[in-house]
């Protein structure tokens, strides 16, 4: 049987990958702490020795176009390029055998997940956290599985559905005859309003509410939040975190960092199982 050995979550902003504008020393120092937390996750992953990083992320109209925009999609191809703003940063092998098991098993579980065997690239929702985690994660031959969860273009996958998806992923893996160890990662958040006139705001009170609930293991209770509330607080990407926590059967959460930058509430967390 395949097993989920752990889970974590953190932001995916291109700014975390590389700061594209001049900032204060304090901003630069705090951003470095966020990156260090991703590196810490990479070191902890080494201890767990997973074979696969299962990454729940949301496309930002870069991999997919409105000609075909999936709510849920698992990548079942051999490998993919991982870019930021369309510029290649990583090329990573995909665990397509396990991805296929997830696809078939999830449809059997009545999650009508789409699949893709070839994409031009995945962008920052996958690239940014993987880039920093893989700076320190040195598990030999580790492969990835990107899992698209639409949290960014309405109508979107509800938090409850993300939680249920995580549980279904766990069941599918446990039924499998494959031996892989899987580590789940949720990417995005916390409060931010990219591309909108609200950009430049964050919602510290809402972020701290979410983090407090996560710390106390109140994952199901968070699923009562709807996209009205999530959009109002800039926390529209929370579903990816919920999916990662759920598939690891997380009991509580360790907040490695929370930083209130002027443009984004940045947090990196480790889900305790």
């Amino acid at each position: 049987m395949a097993i989920v050995v752990g889970a974590a979550a953190g932001p995916h902003s291109p700014v975390v990958y590389q700061l594209p504008w001049e900032e204060s020393e304090e901003y630069v120092r705090e951003m470095e702490k966020v990156r260090e937390c991703f590196k810490e996750i990479g070191r902890r992953i080494n201890v767990l020795k997973p074979d696969v990083l299962l990454v729940f992320g949301a496309d930002h109209v870069q991999t997919f176009w409105f000609g075909n925009f999936p709510q849920m999609m698992v990548f079942t191809g051999e490998a993919a390029n991982y870019c930021v703003g369309g510029r290649r940063v990583l090329h990573l092998k995909n665990h397509h055998e396990l991805a296929e098991e997830l696809l078939f098993g999830l449809v059997e579980e009545e999650f009508d997940v789409g699949f893709s065997q070839e994409v031009d690239f995945f962008d920052h929702p996958f690239t940014t956290p993987l880039y920093w985690i893989l700076q320190t994660c040195n598990v030999p031959d580790i492969r990835v599985i990107p899992f698209q969860l639409n949290t960014n273009v309405h109508p979107r996958v509800k938090l409850k559905r993300c939680y249920d998806l995580g549980q279904a992923v766990r069941r599918v893996l446990e039924r499998s005859k494959r031996p892989e160890r899987v580590f789940a990662i949720g990417t995005g958040g916390l409060s931010h309003f990219p591309g909108t006139p609200y950009y430049g705001n964050i919602d510290e009170e809402a972020d701290r509410y979410i983090l407090n609930m996560l710390e106390r293991g109140k994952f199901r209770e968070l699923c009562d939040l709807d996209y009205d509330w999530l959009d109002s607080t800039g926390n529209h990407e929370l579903g990816t975190w919920i999916a990662a926590a759920s598939c690891a059967n997380a009991k509580s959460t360790e907040v490695l960092t929370y930083w209130t930058a002027w443009n984004n509430g940045y947090s990196v967390v480790w889900f305790r199982t």
Partner: protein, 103 residues
């Protein structure tokens, strides 16, 4: 109901397609910057849509229903710029965020 990351209105399909290409393709970005009108003609933008893109008015685009990630591409990424603290002050961003209740 506050939905910020909205369903893309069909009427903006042409603008959205232009922004999608800018968002994902660095070579296309350069071509767009070299001759914006020619590229916009290729995408079939109306005169009004062309004016909107050339205005780089992200606030107006948002209020007209253009998808936020496409706005990011059209206003910033197309020109190799980013919404830094100084830039957004100049362009009227930082609108007061919607009200909400902490549960």
């Amino acid at each position: 109901m506050t939905i910020i990351f909205r369903y893309p209105p069909l009427e903006h399909l042409r603008i959205h397609k232009l922004g999608y290409m800018i968002f994902r393709d660095p070579d296309f970005r350069e071509r767009f910057k070299r001759d914006m009108n020619k590229v916009m003609d290729e995408f079939g933008l109306t005169e009004e849509e062309k004016k909107l893109v050339l205005s780089r008015d992200g606030v107006k685009m948002y209020d007209m229903g253009v998808q936020p990630y496409i706005i990011f591409a059209l206003v910033w990424q197309a020109f190799g710029e980013w919404p830094s603290r100084e830039q957004i002050k100049k362009l009227g961003y930082g609108r007061e965020k919607p009200s909400r209740v902490i549960p």
